[in-house]
Subunit: 283 residues, 2 copies
């Protein structure tokens, strides 16, 4: 069992509220890359141990789970976070769901329909790579959502997340915050490097034209949906090593607070040990 | 793009056929733990790069996927393999499916029903932790399957796997081969260590009583279902580091042979670079 983590230092420091931090800053934790890498490794070990305990708790009938929601502008590092942070725990316990532009079939349902189908099952660490929040951001910036519809979606999202929380799922909602300059560097790299070109989509350039509108939409969204039961965290994401460390710590702190418990065996240990020794299997 | 791997040295050496190897042997590759750890790291890097290319190929419309099927006696290391080998690639590209004793609802369907629902989607690396093969092994050893039913299931499995192969899924079927002595050590450790007890089930002791019957059932199964399109590999699994290296190499060789291709961009690169530079987004 992992050493129990004290406090909620990183969660407190990164919780949404007020002005957004500098995307290249370290509001908490390591300020330099080499230190960040070391701290990521130790956060990763804690996270892997805690996640194993959560998985065991679930296997024993426990109902709790954790859901990491990743949002951010194109190139903000959602996929990289999945690889570098979720890659630290056993894939058995991870349930990944990526949400792209809704399909025709999905659009015939309520916007939460496809989301509900992918919430993590007990004992698991779910990851949403984009999420129901896209269904406010994109139509809003495109001018396809009235203010009344937007308020209704906020209400529905808050109710949905309350429902998840009540059912035993702890949400960790992360906004990966990058600067437009860093995005330009990353989009340019995607175009210049042949093995990165598949990640680029011409719509990325169009979205970039709406940068201020998206920042406004995010600010409003953070304000309206950062609730007591499902707060948002803002992670400065211009530096990948800081982003990875911060997300690993947010998850690790959250899991430590849940303090998942290995289930008590439903059998008699001494009896089974005796039975085991009495059975001389040989190949 | 990963360096293309030559040949199929590990696959040839571990392919099922004839007598089973010593569970503590190294039929191919490293014979010592420290060398094995180094070679696992380099196999892991190749595997991660190849898997990213497969994922990209799938994102670009490609239909190919890979399915690792893990079978073996209790404690043979299926979960550990998932953690140590699949944990080396981005969780975005991994689809894990564990199959336990069928539920009442599942038993009302054909035995392949629940399996078909979990085959990997294009671009993904699927993992079956136990599989359709349990539906021959367990009922056979329990005396619940007639010889005629067994033959029918073999036929159905071979046809199913041919269908998967035709649809673009390459199967890598791995039997993790441990000795009864090593199983005794591992089961004892599960009982003696409180944080391992949740992995133990009293039925493990009962299965152990049928060790020779299971070995016989496995030998027959390997013989009947190691086909040209979906061969079995036997991995000596008494030593965890060897098992991890061998499975990583089997996957890496298989993916290298598939030689997944990053898709060609559907846009004009120079045009997009110009558009990108012309857009002065600022926050």
């Amino acid at each position: 069992m992992a050493k129990k983590e004290k406090g909620n230092r990183v969660r407190d420091a990164l919780r949404a509220g007020g002005a957004l931090p500098d995307p290249a800053s370290s509001p908490v934790g390591p300020g330099k890359k080499d230190k960040g890498a070391k701290k990521l490794a130790s956060a990763g070990e804690r996270l892997a141990a805690l996640q194993e305990a959560l998985y065991a708790e679930g296997a024993g009938g426990g109902e709790r789970s954790v859901l990491l929601v990743l949002q951010g502008m194109d190139t903000s590092g959602k996929g990289g976070t999945v690889g570098h942070v979720l890659g630290l725990v056993n894939p058995m316990g991870v349930q990944y769901a990526g949400f792209k532009k809704p399909t025709a079939a999905e659009r015939r349902h309520d916007f939460l329909w496809r989301i509900r189908r992918r919430v993590p099952t007990p004992g698991h660490l779910g990851v949403f790579d984009r999420s129901h929040y896209e269904d406010i951001l994109v139509p809003r910036v495109s001018g396809l959502l009235t203010a009344a519809e937007r308020r209704r979606r906020y209400r529905e999202i808050n109710a949905f997340e309350q429902e998840l929380t009540d059912a035993g799922t702890t949400l960790v909602k992360v906004f990966l915050h990058i600067s437009p300059e860093e995005q330009l560097r990353r989009l340019t790299a995607r175009l210049e490097r042949p093995e990165k070109r598949w990640k680029f989509d011409p719509s990325d350039v169009l979205s970039r034209r709406h940068w201020p509108a998206y920042q406004q939409a995010y600010a409003d969204l953070l304000d309206r949906t950062s609730t007591g039961h499902a707060p948002w965290y803002v992670v400065p994401a211009d530096r990948k090593w800081y982003r990875n460390w911060a997300v690993a710590e947010l998850l690790s702190e959250t899991l430590a607070e849940l303090d998942p418990q290995f289930p008590e065996p439903a059998y008699d240990v001494a009896e089974q040990l005796a039975a085991l020794k009495g059975v001389g299997a040989s190949g």
